[in-house]
């Protein structure tokens, strides 16, 4: 763009956002960011601002938006407490590679370092949890830095960027012009594909007798779903997912063998320990996935398709690293691999699935107990949504159950806090997720504990009328912690039982249609009614208080030690 405008730094911020195609931001005003809010008022027909009820909610909403839309989420806050309230969401976005641009106001530059009112060193505080951050003290820097912020946030392995703008820089006028950022000399976001690496990986795969594919969020972040499916279907190799990779390949696909890790499926976990070639695509071998590292897949040769060089050999040694955007590496790899006949190997998956079904799944989905199970609720959601809802989960037992049993037919449908495990994530993230995918059903599945961490965002839902369906799985416990107390601390339930409020009354206080289900017979119709209702809806389901999530790999144990009960 060659337009030259003489405008304030604050107006420049808005124009930069518009130039980046942003039409929706989340935030909370305050003194040090008021000039920008004043411009937001003027630009409100082009740039919609959602007032969350807490700055943490703004970052989580921006994350949810980014996860379903694939675009950069934007959150904005004032200095001091506004800025520090963003941190949990930024840290969550950093570990889960979510592209965010966060903008904070800062005290005027001549006051920096003077302990001025609401001054906080947000650059220092956010440094370890951002991909990049920068403090602007001069309005003229705004266009270039904003362009750089968006470029860095979305390119390569995405992540959060924080831009702190002093108040004087927001007021100062300057000649504005915007140029998109196309590169930063010290930063190479996407490694160039090395065909020798591809060839070596293809040979290893072609030689495999018992191969296993493990995929993660990189497939979604790289928009490589089609390339991934083509690879899986051509090779006919069984594939299993991390919870952040979930939904990249539809649940019903015959080669989709389920969930990896601590609460994942029996077959893919045990067979990780038996496979001869492990093909990792866009996943980072998190310890929830690997269990004890020195016992993880030691028999296997590892092929690792990764975009971030720092992930290669970080946790698991890669015999065949392929550094590139996995869309490119998969597209290069697929023509070089041969289809396999793996009948015996496949039979092992079926056999172990059967064992898991008998001991765990049957009980979870068709319980004999009077109380409802979390699994039944997820099944009801699958049914009512034809397995095509976006499921946003919080952290805890309900999260694991939802990931295990939710069914998907489309990518970008599972939104959860994986690496940080942030309770309170789901409600605000669901707001963003719905705004990022307005034509889809978005269901937030939340525990009674985590719900109360960001329950104030009901106000945002009420005000924006965003059609989020909220399902609280109420076990009157911090269930996941209680489970650990039961299994590893001899049932000493220290501070995990909760006396809960009347959740329905609270939702109704925000004028959100609400219902509570306590009996099995009511469940299906209540879920159907929830989907049939336009706009937001609140459904509390009272579930068994002391159910446990299985299978389980205790922390520090190897995958082989996976327990079914």
């Amino acid at each position: 763009m060659s337009e030259k405008l003489h405008i304030s730094g604050a107006e420049a911020v808005i124009r930069c956002l518009l130039a980046e195609g942003v039409d929706l931001i989340y935030g909370y005003p305050g003194g040090a960011i008021m000039p920008v809010y004043d411009e937001l008022y003027k630009f409100q027909d082009q740039l919609h601002h959602v007032l969350t009820r807490h700055e943490q909610g703004a970052t989580h909403a921006a994350q949810g938006y980014a996860r379903t839309s694939g675009k950069v989420g934007v959150a904005i806050a004032t200095s001091g407490p506004g800025a520090t309230n963003l941190i949990t969401g930024i840290a969550d976005a950093q570990i889960d590679s979510t592209p965010l641009v966060c903008i904070t106001g800062q005290v005027a530059s001549h006051l920096l370092g003077s302990d001025a009112f609401q001054e906080t060193d947000i650059i220092g505080i956010s440094t370890p949890v951002t991909k990049w951050n920068y403090q602007i003290t001069n309005a003229e820097e705004i266009p270039e830095i904003m362009a750089k912020a968006f470029y860095i946030a979305r390119s390569g392995r995405p992540g959060p960027v924080l831009i702190d703008i002093t108040k004087d820089a927001q007021f100062a006028k300057f000649d504005y012009s915007y140029k998109k950022c196309t590169g930063v000399r010290s930063y190479k976001p996407v490694p160039t594909l090395d065909h020798d690496q591809v060839k070596a990986a293809a040979e290893a795969i072609n030689g495999a007798k018992k191969p296993l594919i493990v995929w993660g969020q990189g497939v979604i972040l790289g928009q490589a779903e089609a390339a991934f499916k083509a690879f899986v279907e051509k090779t006919q190799i069984p594939a299993a997912w991390t919870i952040l990779g979930l939904s990249a390949l539809e649940t019903a696909h015959p080669l989709n063998k389920g969930m990896l890790g601590m609460h994942g499926n029996y077959a893919p976990n045990l067979l990780t320990q038996e496979c001869d070639v492990l093909i990792a695509v866009g996943m980072r071998f998190d310890d929830r996935v690997t269990g004890r590292l020195d016992a993880y897949a030691t028999q296997a040769k590892v092929v690792h398709l990764e975009i971030d060089p720092a992930e290669i050999n970080k946790n698991v040694y890669a015999d065949y690293p392929v550094l590139a955007d996995c869309k490119a590496s998969l597209e290069a790899l697929t023509p070089l691999v041969q289809p396999k006949k793996l009948d015996e190997w496949m039979a092992r998956f079926d056999e172990l699935y059967k064992q898991e079904y008998e001991v765990v799944i049957e009980k979870d989905l068709r319980p004999q107990k009077e109380g409802l199970s979390m699994g039944e609720v997820i099944v009801a959601i699958n049914k009512a949504s034809k397995s095509d809802a976006v499921i946003v989960t919080d952290v805890g037992q309900h999260q694991m159950v939802a990931c295990r049993y939710a069914e998907f037919v489309r990518s970008k449908s599972n939104v959860t806090s994986g690496g940080l495990g942030t309770m309170g994530f789901a409600l605000p993230a669901a707001i963003g997720a719905k705004m990022g995918a307005p034509d889809r059903h978005v269901v937030a599945v939340i525990g009674d504990g985590g719900y109360q961490m960001t329950i104030q965002e009901l106000g945002t839902i009420f005000q924006t009328k965003v059609g989020v369906k909220i399902v609280i799985l109420n076990n009157d416990f911090l269930g996941m912690v209680r489970q650990w107390q039961q299994l590893f601390f001899e049932k000493r339930y220290a501070s995990t039982e909760m006396t809960n409020p009347d959740f329905v009354a609270i939702a109704k206080g925000y004028y959100i249609p609400a219902k509570k289900v306590t009996a099995r017979e009511e469940l299906e119709s209540a879920v159907a009614e929830m989907f049939a209702t336009d706009g937001p809806y609140f459904l509390e389901v009272v579930v068994e208080k002391e159910n446990n999530v299985f299978p389980m790999i205790p922390t520090g144990a190897s995958l082989t030690e996976i327990r079914l009960s």
Binding site: R185, Y187, P309, I312
Partner: protein
């Protein structure tokens, strides 16, 4: 790969931006790794900044540190080296009471034998400067100790690599390509000496191993 912690020198080429030092030191903090010494300076390339950081870690650790450092947006390239691959000289300044210079003849001999220089003399004290390898600066310190060595003022370190090529001649920004063998990417070489702003590093404190720092 060695699992024993040994001394590694990490050199980092980067942009010169506010806050980058924080970002880099945070990588060590996050892993609970103590930095033995850290120097920042201009590098031999105009416009490019350089950090030299010394740590006691294992080789897998230093590789991961280098990977994480190089991942930072403002970092252009990072390398690690063992002591065998590097040379360093240091300049030490020794402060001695002036009266000793005349009363204790040996002092003048030490200065001569060790090829040290007197850089300043005042009625109260004089300062001797010695540039050399660590064992040489150590020897002079020990020699002066009995004669009322007041303080060691400062340490100017020089760091370079032993091999023969231009360290960064290959470092074209556009070609920066992630390569797993970071330390060995380019043939390392001796870099021209440049004194950097190291600040006042006390030479002889409690923990001798911490006292080195380097620059190109």
């Amino acid at each position: 790969m060695s699992q024993e912690p040994i001394r590694y020198t990490i050199s980092i080429y980067s942009e010169n931006n506010v806050g980058l030092l924080n970002r880099i030191s945070a990588i060590f903090l996050k892993r609970h790794i103590n930095i033995e010494s850290l120097t920042t300076s201009l590098s031999e390339i105009p416009d490019v900044f350089r950090f030299v950081i010394v740590v006691m870690v294992t080789e897998p650790q230093v590789q991961k540190l280098v990977q994480q450092i190089e991942k930072q947006v403002d970092v252009i390239k990072a390398f690690y080296h063992t002591d065998e691959e590097t040379i360093f000289l240091e300049t030490a300044l020794y402060k001695v009471k002036t009266s000793f210079l005349f009363e204790e003849r040996q002092i003048q001999n030490f200065i001569k034998e060790s090829h040290a220089n007197i850089v300043t003399v005042s009625p109260e004290f004089f300062v001797i400067e010695k540039t050399g390898f660590r064992h040489e600066t150590d020897a002079l310190r020990e020699a002066l100790q009995p004669f009322g060595l007041a303080t060691i003022c400062a340490l100017w370190p020089y760091f370079g690599l032993k091999s023969p090529h231009g360290y960064l001649t290959n470092l074209k920004f556009v070609q920066r390509k992630p390569n797993l063998d970071y330390g060995k990417l380019f043939q390392p070489t001796i870099v021209k000496r440049a004194i950097t702003a190291t600040g006042q590093v006390p030479l002889y404190g409690r923990r001798r191993i911490c006292r080195r720092s380097y620059s190109s």
